[in-house]
Symmetry: C2
Subunit: 387 residues, 2 copies
């Protein structure tokens, strides 16, 4: 299965940074043009078609995370959504004081958890991934984890963790940024309480595309902590008194960002005929092949990702003392991958458009660069890197 | 002065809803195309050019609000920015418990103030516009006002209010959504502490375009209440420990929404050669002319805006028992204006592209519709209206 033809990718590169910013789906450009034209021609009247976009896109993402369509909505950034959900979750466990998370969680998530903890007089307890299960106890109000780690690609066993959380009365808040769009997810089946996720990585929604948030239907009768205009039952009566919209719409705050949402709408078309189980199968086949090739030909590399494909997302990380210089050399030769401090090279193998020929080409260049030390050049100096 | 040629407006209409959604500047479409092309061709590498956009756009808006370039940044929605600033402002006045605002403030602002008050155990005191000055006392932590009222167009005397606020140790937080881009503003001169504003109204940034926030430089050494990844000193070292960026950048949270920001970038080009004092002069001339014409020819209308142009923004509101039906009839005849519950018609006279010929045409149709009661038709039934 390859859907590469649905993307507009430059011919001369191998793109292995879809875990950071997905490439442009052709439909994303078309839908964005349509939105632009609608603005131009119909001005404020176009809002009749736009006002339901956050829910419409949410219901498409619901299919990717195994939830009901009415549990997901698209709005704001992942950080802001995380904040909104943490603020709403904490009062549901009023006698507990701890937000439990992982030390190595994406830093944005840690900063938001700390911000919320300060505001709510709670404590963030951050432990190593293998200490999470043990740290779950009846002091924990909310367990906030990222399903697939942004550095190592380590994937938590969501079923097992949610089972224990439920038994202990802990609310779960999963960040699905590095797992949505590459594997089946089961928010309903595992009774996930809350979730957020990024749409500009494997969903290819465009740079800084709006995020999504999910709330299990059992919590949808609660009024959100942050109450916004667009989450009002009847926003256009402009009442000074807040009355919550029904369901997930209550989690909207300000005016939806339409141009970015139109690009995302186009990007989500790509997933309409995708079998997520087959997508995951291809993802693990690609990453297992890359790992096997590296072990055979580049034994000095250290695999920084789990060896077992059952424990991985769709990127693979290797460490090397010259990781930064190597990654610059790879990019200069047309293999677009990335580097993470202090010594990590990440290869994002988005199964929608990466194929085995890409892995072959990557290995050819990777072997050449590492074995011939083509990276050891003075102009590969370290400078600010951007994801 | 007219800059109508810089906008792509349909030929056959008079557009008087720029107070709700500005029309498409031609440069907005061009800059958005450029952003789309950059994504397509340079993928994740394009971030080198994008990463500073929030500050670059902020420094352009600073010129419009009379502040230093390093006090303004573009991010999130107006509601979210209001929340971020309220949460950051309240601890600066730790022994005070009141957020003072106006009953008739834009409902989104009231809902956010209530949300923050609940989280921080504070009280929102909402009074009528003429009771604001009297209600200012040493119990008030933050005075949160919208400079120009979204319904009536009533404009506060910012100089006078800020002078009193300063004398009483009250922090000011102004919502400039209905005043930015139509008149000179003086945040530095009046020592405004905090401000937010919308960019999709008179700044014409596109549907749901990102908002801006302003923080007076004397507060820029404070760490924001909501600490995000993009507000970190060195986000790309991915440290688990938050260290605040210098200056206004600290108020960023998640990844900037690039496609929408590119459209806004184009929209702000329009203002590069605009003299704001001349713009305001044209704005008041337009609105005074519309008011005078209505008083002469449509004496049954009630002016719901201040008669004195010194107290008005750039829209004018009239009340009429059949306001909704009249507004539908006007729109059907090509004059795009809007209606607000329960009986208000709003005419937004954005001086960049509205001219006296537009007012003439509006009056011709307005007189015809009202005098001949062309609005009294069964198909103008009331339904959901969208701003």
């Amino acid at each position: 299965m390859t859907l590469k033809h649905l993307f507009s990718l430059p011919n001369d590169i191998v793109y292995l940074c879809g875990h950071s910013l997905g490439p442009m789906p052709k439909m994303a450009a078309l839908c964005l043009q349509e939105g632009l034209h609608h603005w131009e021609q119909n001005l404020v009247g176009a809002w009749h078609d736009w006002i339901d976009l956050p829910k419409q896109l949410g219901s498409k993402i619901a299919l990717l995370i195994g939830s009901s369509p009415n549990e997901v909505i698209v709005c704001d950034s992942t950080s802001i959504n995380l904040m909104k959900l943490l603020l709403s979750a904490i009062p549901l466990n009023p006698n507990r004081n701890i937000i439990l998370t992982e030390q190595g969680n994406f830093p944005a998530d840690l900063y938001i958890a700390d911000s919320v903890a300060c505001l709510q007089n709670k404590t963030v307890k951050a432990v190593s991934p293998d200490a999470i299960v043990e740290a779950m106890d009846e002091q924990v109000a909310v367990l906030m984890l990222t399903h697939v780690n942004y550095r190592t690609s380590f994937k938590y066993d969501m079923a097992k963790i949610n089972r224990k959380a439920k038994a202990l009365g802990i609310l779960t808040l999963w960040d699905l940024s590095h797992s949505v769009g590459i594997m089946p997810l089961d928010c309903s089946k595992f009774e996930v309480d809350f979730a957020v996720g990024c749409t500009y990585k494997y969903l290819n929604g465009g740079p800084g595309a709006p995020s999504f948030l999910y709330v299990h239907q059992k919590h949808l009768n609660q009024i959100p902590a942050i109450r916004g205009w667009m989450g009002h039952k009847t926003p256009f009566t402009f009442s000074p008194h807040y009355e919550s919209a029904n369901g997930i719409t209550a989690y909207l705050t300000g005016t939806p960002n339409i141009l970015s949402m139109k690009a995302l709408e186009g990007a989500l078309h790509v997933f309409e005929k995708v079998d997520l189980a087959a997508l995951q199968e291809k993802s693990t086949a690609l990453s297992s092949y890359l790992i096997a090739q590296c072990q055979q030909y580049l034994p000095d590399l250290m695999l920084a990702s789990p060896f077992s494909s059952a424990q991985r997302g769709s990127h693979v990380a290797f460490s090397h003392p010259h990781a930064y210089a190597i990654s610059r050399a790879m990019i200069a030769k047309g293999v677009i991958m990335d580097y993470r401090e202090p010594n990590l090279m990440r290869f994002g193998l988005s199964p929608l458009y990466v194929d085995f020929a890409d892995i072959e080409k990557t290995m050819e260049i990777f072997r050449e660069v590492v074995q011939k030390k083509l990276y050891d050049l003075p102009h590969f100096e370290k400078k600010l890197k951007v994801t």
